[in-house]
Subunit: 217 residues, 4 copies
DNA sequence: GATGAATGAGAATTCATTCAT
DNA sequence: TATGAATGAATTCTCATTCAT
């Protein structure tokens, strides 16, 4: 029984070590992909960043592409950030919070994720595999929320389906790019102000006649 | 003098021929970059597309990167499309038209440009060299327009600087991405509807109390 | 017309140059394959032997395996050497000559081909693609010849099908290996004597009661 | 003394365990070498087949090559199968049995050995080290047998030395290759028929005027 | 100028072998 | 002794760039 315990411990320890190493490689790869883009990133640089030998990468991943896929499917995509909780939105307040949470998410990995998600966004195969389904689901759910909002009067009158897909396009685009335009200059506060302003415009555009975000600042 | 004339003619003719060839290569490269991304595009494929020899490329451009740079600086970026004419905006109507023109621009090269601009957007050096300046200029001009609009009452009350940069971020992002989310499904009409809807949200969000795009459809 | 001629000349010249280079690479590869076996041969060594850069190989062949296949399908296999002319065999004399020609073929490339053919013989895919068909054809043709020989009395009585496949197995095996057993020692004359002796045994075994090769020595 | 006994027992037991492990590894390696060829076989696959860790192999063998050498020198080669008992041949019957036993040997490992022996046959160093000596010995012994047979009249008149080396070449070649030519089609019975037929031809060729194998079927 | 073969630096990946546990 | 992750040299192949024709 003792032996069994020991054996199990050993097994669990190894599992954890493998997991840790994978994590390290993924972190390293993510940062290199983010800096150079997937195609220009080299396994050599990933290995150097992860501080292991080039060949060791292949003890944990079967190919460079496998690393990219692992990153993409491991981290929650912006889409998922929007999806979670969308059902609970029943009023203007909830809607505002949903959008703000999705876009302003303080995810520490966000800057490094942007480029990687772009990759999934650009690569047809990855897009179909990891995004398309989510987005369709998100769109139809959002359309239902909008439909409810219009009926309840806290959204102005619009076609729910078209509006839903337009909003998602806007949000996805915005979540992927907002930082780029002013990279060197701006302080975090300035960034937050700008993002808030954009959200405000979006929400105001959806709700009409009353700025929804402004009052919360 | 006759000789001189001939010589000048010959010179001009050569100039034109060189220009034409460069144009062909740029077109070819643009389409290949768009399809594969800059890093994965090969000079071989560019040459094949331009129907010239691989080596001939180097008679017109000094490197693959030089081609990318030439494309970026030759074609008007979305930023420029917004810039031109921004000064003439003096009322709600003009503003609506400005935004619509920029986003819906029927530029035949647009789909092929998106990827290339993304490249410039992702590559720090290119970004600084070809976008940063334009964007700053655009932002400050737009801020002035917004400021005027708020004073004149055709825009709701907002901080002009923050709003300007937020709008630009939204527009840039949207101009670069809107198609992706629904690639297989949608008809051109559906696409236009969706883009219109997004613009509508944006403008309504800026102007308040009256949908500006809706009535024009 | 002159121009046309020149152009054609240029075209032909290039064709020839390409052909020559391919030939050089094939020769080099053949000798390296022969020395090391396909799997252990490296493109680096092939390139060095052909005195070109490693990368240049890929201007002429799409992969290392493509080189092997080219070699195999370019040179006539032992099977083909047996096939050609088998139909014309109508008597004991012709039969003797057929076998002798096939086995003793003074092909200059033979020593270098043996190992390569072995590769095709060992690799299931290559075998099916380049040998299987030939061998089946050869077997049925040989069976017909044997059948005729038995009827005409210049072969002893045997089952033609079984005998045909046995003879082919013996010949193929022998053509692929005979040298190996005594590589360093023997003179060409000794080798010829030994091969002749083997052929003699085979033919005597087939014909019975009279040594067919002995008298020619 | 008891202790001593125990110690000796322990020692012997360890010896046996080591031997058993080595055997397992050799079996595993043999089957992998046979399937892929030496160069393409990986230690990983050998380890997996032997159901041990990759690293453990190196507790028993110093290198991959060492495994190959161990296999070759451990298992009796076809040559050895011919050698053993060759001295006892004193008449036609014995000769027939000798050849049949060597070629038709029901060794279960034969198919797996063929490829390995081919490796030794192809690799100059291995050939010299493990085959050359055996073959020379075999040749001279066989020559003596033939000489005796010719004198005794149960072999037709031939040069014993040349004939001996020819027979060995034929047999070696045939023992290494006979299966290949008809892999998918034939039943075990068909194969036996074919091999018997080949042996028959050989023996008939050696003895003259009387089929030696035919009557035994 | 035009061509495209030649180049060689590097890319991703494999694998025999080592070594800490 | 057993393990299997770590290593890094070696391998096949790619591709921007050069250069002889």
């Amino acid at each position: 029984m003792m032996d069994d315990q020991n054996h199990q411990d050993g097994f669990a320890r190894r599992e954890r070590r493998v997991g840790r190493r994978q994590e390290e490689i993924l972190q390293a790869a993510a940062s290199v992909f983010a800096a150079k883009g997937y195609a220009s990133a080299t396994t050599r640089e990933i290995a150097a960043t992860a501080d292991i030998a080039e060949g060791s990468i292949y003890n944990y991943f079967s190919s460079k592409r496998d690393i990219l896929i692992s990153i993409i499917s491991r981290f929650p995509s912006p889409v998922d950030r929007l999806l979670s909780g969308i059902e609970r939105v029943t009023d203007r307040e909830g809607f505002v919070r949903l959008i703000e949470r999705a876009v302003l998410a303080p995810a520490p990995e966000q800057p490094c994720m942007r480029t990687i998600i772009q990759e999934a966004w650009t690569d047809d195969e990855l897009f179909r595999q990891y995004q398309a389904g989510h987005i369709e689901e998100l769109t139809s759910r959002l359309a239902r929320v909008i439909s409810r909002g219009v009926k309840a009067g806290w959204l102005r009158s619009m076609d729910p389906d078209v509006t839903a897909s337009a909003v998602i396009a806007l949000l996805m685009a915005f979540m992927m790019h907002p930082m780029r335009a002013f990279p060197a200059v701006e302080t975090p506060e300035a960034r937050t102000r700008r993002v808030r302003s954009a959200i405000d415009i979006l929400l105001y555009g959806l709700m009409g006649n009353q700025s929804p975000g402004q009052e919360k600042e």
